[in-house]
């Protein structure tokens, strides 16, 4: 639930003390806090990945080809996000909308991969309640997926409500897109860490 507000007291041209926009500083502080959230989830996963008493172990179920494709999808979505911001800042609203939509679609595709992978694991007998590997794996990747879903909803809102006014999202309001971009890239680099720790390293024999 991304809680951010878009208004602050309008006290004339008072520049902020650090010269930074309130909302950008809020987003970065929030991302620093999220580092600890995903850090704790990754710590739980590392403690439990080989501690299962019964049921499938990482080496048996983790599927590198599928997740490397989904990693490629998420990396590309970061590219489209950045291009969307660049377009909006140039005032090119049309390609801005295209790239925002592209990012949302890529994000949704990534989620599709996740759902497919979860179904695959459940069919192979790894449910969240099967063993501690399953529990910590599903919690970590589940919360990451939830963050991607929030990002997709945010992107689609930006896309849909850009049609509310005729000039779409003006360059002066590019910060709205930049904030979404910061959140999106953060969720991407969390996936980079997850891909490295959960998939590449944990599935080694």
């Amino acid at each position: 639930m991304a809680t951010h507000s878009t208004t602050a007291p309008h006290t004339g041209p008072l520049a902020t003390t650090t010269g930074l926009d309130h909302r950008k500083l809020l987003m970065w502080t929030f991302l620093a806090s999220e580092c600890l959230f995903f850090g704790s989830l990754i710590a739980t996963f590392l403690l439990f990945k080989d501690a299962s008493v019964s049921g499938p172990i990482p080496q048996e179920v983790l599927n590198i080809p599928v997740t490397s494709t989904s990693t490629f999808v998420l990396l590309t979505s970061s590219l489209s996000m950045v291009l969307a911001l660049a377009a909006i800042q140039r005032g090119d609203i049309v390609s801005g909308r295209v790239w925002i939509l592209a990012t949302a679609v890529l994000g949704a595709t990534f989620l599709g991969f996740q759902v497919f992978e979860f179904k695959e694991f459940i069919d192979e007998g790894l449910k969240p309640s099967t063993n501690v590997f399953g529990a910590s794996f599903f919690t970590l990747t589940g919360f990451h997926g939830a963050h991607v879903a929030v990002g997709v909803i945010w992107l689609m809102s930006l896309f849909i409500f850009s049609f509310k006014s005729k000039d779409g999202i003006p360059a002066s309001k590019s910060l709205d897109v930049e904030l979404c971009g910061l959140y999106w890239h953060f969720v991407d680099i969390v996936w980079v860490v997850i891909f490295t720790v959960v998939y590449l390293i944990s599935s080694l024999e």
């Binding site: 710590a43 800042q89 309001k173």
Partner: protein, 105 residues
């Protein structure tokens, strides 16, 4: 939606990476990932070597995305300090818990 917390228009047109630069970065990231997946199937590499390579590659990808896509290279250093503070505490917690639970030995 007025926002008086709006900083005076940041003058970052000059040092703003161009779209071509972004595509270059995306290619680099994709190559790194492809490289990781490729060597994953090489049998002769030991587990420790794998871990060093993958962690190294992960850190490089992390830094590239943070520096360029998240614009840290061009923005106020306060943002970098915030991210570093969160990362240091997270890594400290993971390493300490890992040692206490003896997962590294």
């Amino acid at each position: 939606m007025a926002n008086s917390g709006q900083a005076p228009e940041e003058h970052h047109d000059s040092d703003h990476p161009s779209p071509a630069r972004y595509i270059q970065i995306a290619v680099i990231l994709t190559l790194i990932t492809a490289f990781e997946v490729a060597i994953y199937y090489v049998e002769s590499i030991s587990k420790e070597a794998f871990i060093i390579i993958f962690v190294g590659m992960g850190i490089i990808k992390f830094i590239i995305v943070a520096m360029f896509y998240m614009h840290l290279k061009f923005d106020h250093r306060l943002f970098t300090w915030l991210l570093l503070a969160g990362l240091t505490l997270a890594i400290f917690a993971i390493v300490t818990l890992g040692t206490l639970f003896r997962i590294f030995t």
